[in-house]
């Protein structure tokens, strides 16, 4: 259990507590680790033609983000540098909540996706990945004669 020894901000502590409770009671967590609370936070949505993934990853260089799609498994990796001063500088850190360091998140998507039709864009700190479904998997209207 992670505990900060010197709680400086009550709300930050409550937020941390809430995350821990959520983790502890999460129904059937994924085999690849906890489904929530990682960096970047992910939202996944789908349309009949595509799957849209939003990664909330602020403060990155777009070129440094590694996105891979292999057999329906999407992985997002990279590194976020800490904004905090190093120990030599005469500065005091009062609150430290933001993620820093290397990250790697993997999610399993459906297997009807076309690996050749992937678009990724980074805007305002959100990585938006759009993957088209395979032509053969898209719903089609069948004419009845």
């Amino acid at each position: 259990m992670e505990l900060s020894l010197f709680p400086r901000d009550l709300f930050a502590e409550l937020d941390r507590l809430q995350r821990q409770v959520q983790r502890a009671f999460e129904f059937s967590p994924s085999i690849r680790g906890f489904a929530r609370g990682g960096f970047p936070a992910l939202n996944v949505a789908s349309t009949p033609q595509s799957v849209e993934i939003y990664g909330f990853a602020p403060g990155l260089e777009p070129k440094s983000i590694e996105v891979q799609l292999e057999r329906g498994v999407l992985s997002i990796a990279g590194e976020r540098k800490s904004a905090l001063p190093d120990a030599r500088q005469p500065a005091t850190v009062h609150v430290n909540e933001r993620f820093a360091g290397r990250f790697h998140r993997v999610i399993t998507l459906s297997d009807d996706l076309d690996p050749n039709e992937v678009r990724a864009a980074y805007r305002d700190g959100v990585l938006h990945i759009s993957i088209k479904r395979l032509e053969s998997a898209q719903p089609r209207r069948i004419n009845v004669n």
């Binding site: 709300f11 930050a12 937020d15 489904a35 929530r36 970047p40 936070a41 992910l42 939202n43 996944v44 949505a45 789908s46 349309t47 009949p48 595509s50 849209e52 939003y54 909330f56 990853a57 602020p58 403060g59 990155l60 904004a83 905090l84 001063p85 500088q89 005469p90 500065a91 005091t92 850190v93 009062h94 609150v95 430290n96 909540e97 933001r98 993620f99 999610i107 980074y122 805007r123 305002d124 700190g125 959100v126 938006h128 759009s130």
Partner: protein, 125 residues
């Protein structure tokens, strides 16, 4: 209704909406305080930073590009808004505040008032 009340009302409406608590880092040095806040998805024109003598309010609304017929299948970020309120202490000068938003990270710098900067005190005797 004059313009002033209209503004106050819309501010109040914004304050009543549920919002996410963005993670922040706060660092203090001799000349002031730097605050970093993660606000992914918020463009410059939807971010509001307000500071008076006592409080600092950061409020931002996301603007994500969404295709039609979108159906959520996995949601970790469940609100389109961030808000966080800090109380400021007296030695900070809200008039000397600069803000920069880049790649979803807000960097706020608040200078200390001139009289509050640390001085080396000469010890005699």
């Amino acid at each position: 209704m004059n313009e002033q009340t209209a503004v106050t009302r819309s501010d109040q409406a914004a304050m009543d909406q549920p919002a996410l608590l963005p993670p922040v880092d706060v660092v203090e040095d001799d000349s002031g305080i730097t605050l970093y806040a993660d606000l992914p998805g918020v463009p410059k024109d939807r971010l509001s930073v307000q500071a008076d003598a006592e409080t600092l309010i950061i409020d931002g609304e996301m603007a994500l590009e969404m295709p039609k017929e979108l159906e959520a299948t996995h949601v970790e970020v469940n609100l389109p808004r961030y808000r966080r309120v800090f109380s400021l202490s007296k030695e900070l000068d809200p008039a000397k505040l600069s803000a920069e938003l880049k790649n979803g990270v807000l960097t706020l710098r608040i200078q200390k008032a001139e009289r509050a900067k640390p001085r080396r005190i000469q010890v005699t005797g």
